[in-house]
């Protein structure tokens, strides 16, 4: 029944076999998921944020559950560029799906150094610039809330990233997300991903202290989905559609229906984050569900669905 449905996606010249990726920081470096799914069945894979130097990350507790969501303050705990190249890249090289490396840093030079080192690696389809992480003291979200800095960082990385796709990951809690999105696109980004998490806090009323050691953390999960859908639609209408730039939508996706909402709102592809923790491998079910939906709605090519929101 599905054989007539084409759910492959042209993502900045790269063919993704389907529109479902896994989100940065929620699926490690891919090998961890091997027991639960065939990672090659994904449309693409996004690594945990990589920084120039290894980072230990924040003290614990680093997570806390909230109603239909969770807060995390991992603090870019990662093995650093050198170990990534040595230990993880060989694993990613074996993948047949598109691999995106998420890059983070405290200074523009750090982003540039990581992109430069990886720009010639064949295993990598593109970069996702994390300018929207709420859990570190320096860098991260402080870049992503200021259009001038987004311009600077995007154009600096663009210069060294050669043929690689350059995707900028946007922070949701800004006055006008389209201003930031436009800054990224004008500076050379050829894809946008949104959303990263919302800065949030949970208080322990017995101790009157924040539950997280970092005090605040990023809210993710189903709780943020309607806001994410809205922001994807906004960026699609105001920036992406006009400039022909694809949007990678994410925020609370757990099911095929969730993913389809994002696609209708304007996402060319979607990423599954928090849901990987609850059901590793759920991305595969989502792919199947999208196919079924398209067949049922007689959509021959998923392209027809992207941004097909009816508002009249």
């Amino acid at each position: 029944m599905n054989k007539d449905v084409d759910i492959s996606v042209d993502f900045v010249g790269i063919r993704l076999s389907n529109p479902v990726l896994t989100a940065s920081g929620t699926s490690g470096y891919a090998d961890e998921l091997a027991d639960f799914m065939d990672v090659n069945s994904l449309g693409g894979f996004i690594t945990k944020s990589i920084t120039l130097k290894p980072r230990k990350g924040n003290a614990t507790p680093r997570i806390v559950e909230t109603d239909s969501g969770m807060l995390n303050a991992i603090g870019w705990a990662n093995i650093g560029l050198d170990a990534f190249v040595e230990e993880k890249l060989p694993v990613l090289e074996k993948l047949s799906c598109a691999v995106f490396v998420n890059i983070a840093g405290e200074t523009i030079d750090e982003y540039v150094a990581v992109a430069q080192r990886l720009a010639d690696e064949k295993a990598i389809a593109g970069f996702e610039l994390n300018v929207s992480c709420p859990n570190v003291e320096k860098g991260g979200i402080s870049f992503g809330t200021d259009p001038t800095q987004v311009t600077e960082i995007t154009s600096a990385v663009k210069k060294v990233s050669g043929e690689k796709i350059l995707m900028v990951k946007l922070a949701p809690a800004v006055t006008d997300i389209s201003v930031i999105a436009r800054a990224a696109v004008e500076a050379g980004a050829n894809a946008l991903s949104l959303i990263n998490t919302f800065t949030a806090m949970v208080v322990d009323i017995e101790t009157r202290r924040p539950v997280l050691a970092n005090k605040t953390g990023g809210l993710s999960g189903p709780a943020i989905k309607p806001i994410a859908v809205y922001l994807v639609n906004k960026v699609y209408n105001e920036v992406a559609k006009g400039s022909g730039i694809p949007v990678l939508g994410m925020g609370g996706i757990r099911t095929a229906s969730d993913a389809i909402e994002f696609i209708i709102a304007g996402a060319s592809a979607v990423a599954v984050g928090t849901a990987n923790f609850i059901e590793p491998g759920c991305a595969i079910k989502i792919i199947e569900g999208i196919k079924k939906y398209c067949a049922r709605k007689e959509i021959a090519n998923i392209k027809e669905l992207v941004g097909s929101l009816e508002v009249s």
């Binding site: 961890e32 003290a59 559950e65 969770m70 590793p280």
Partner: protein, 314 residues
Amino acid sequence: MSEKCSAANKGIFCAAVRANKQLGQRFYRLGLEFSGAGAEVFANFKPGQFVELDVSGTALPPAEAIPEDLVDVSGRKVLLRRPFSFCDVTAKKNKTFVEILYCVVGPATLRMTTLAAGDSVSIIGPLGNGFWVPESKKRALLVVGGMGAGPLEHLAKVFTADYPDMEVIAFAGAKTVKELPFEARLDEISQQLGFSLGEFAKYGIESLVATDDGSAGFAGLVTDCLSEWLGKSDLAGENMIIYGCGPEQMLAQVAEIAKDKKIDCQVSMERMMACGIGVCQSCAVECRVAGSNETVYKLCCEDGPVFESREVVF
């Protein structure tokens, strides 16, 4: 079990609920049954390993059965899976039976109380590294604090089956006798030494009870009970090993005692876990790097939950 035993063939499995028995106010034993591939995988589950249970779709108990202190949190929707160890594993032909000893502390464990025979639950596992038994040990001391009883009860079973020459003694502590996660009734818990806790006695293992308020056994902390006992022990430290599972403060003290007496010691650590499979980095445990002043974060779910106590920065 002399090697560090890590999880092989982990996956998502469906378990059938066989029983869910209440012991005392807050404690339950949940009996589960695996068949097919799950039976095979969980037959090799090692004491100290754990699983991630999904109870997000499980119903809440009726309002009158919700303890007052949990009324506010009871309505919170459970999103993430929750980590649990097994207190018993029995592999039979084509089926593996396991038990989880759990304490009702929040929305997920509250929901667990309504699981009944005939239900099924989704389980990810086996996860992490369990306890291991180094060569040349003659005596194992199991130190239980509150909810830490589960994995050490399982370890007691394995000792009895596979290490007949090992002398094993259990120390169990709680604030008060009612908070001991055991089936024994108050009058059965001896005021002194003896085969007091049924869960260990059934394996022929002596157990000592300590309660902060003196309502049973040693009046004071289980670690003080351990110290006192070790003070009278004749065996050299290198021939003994301590296994600890319980609140972190207790583990820190157990680690101190072990260091002091030069006894090898393994502790099972707990962290808030979002994934349990090494992808989220939420479960960091600060560990010393041998031969330096540096520390690194290891992952409780992947590198632990059992660590050598000398490694952990408490």
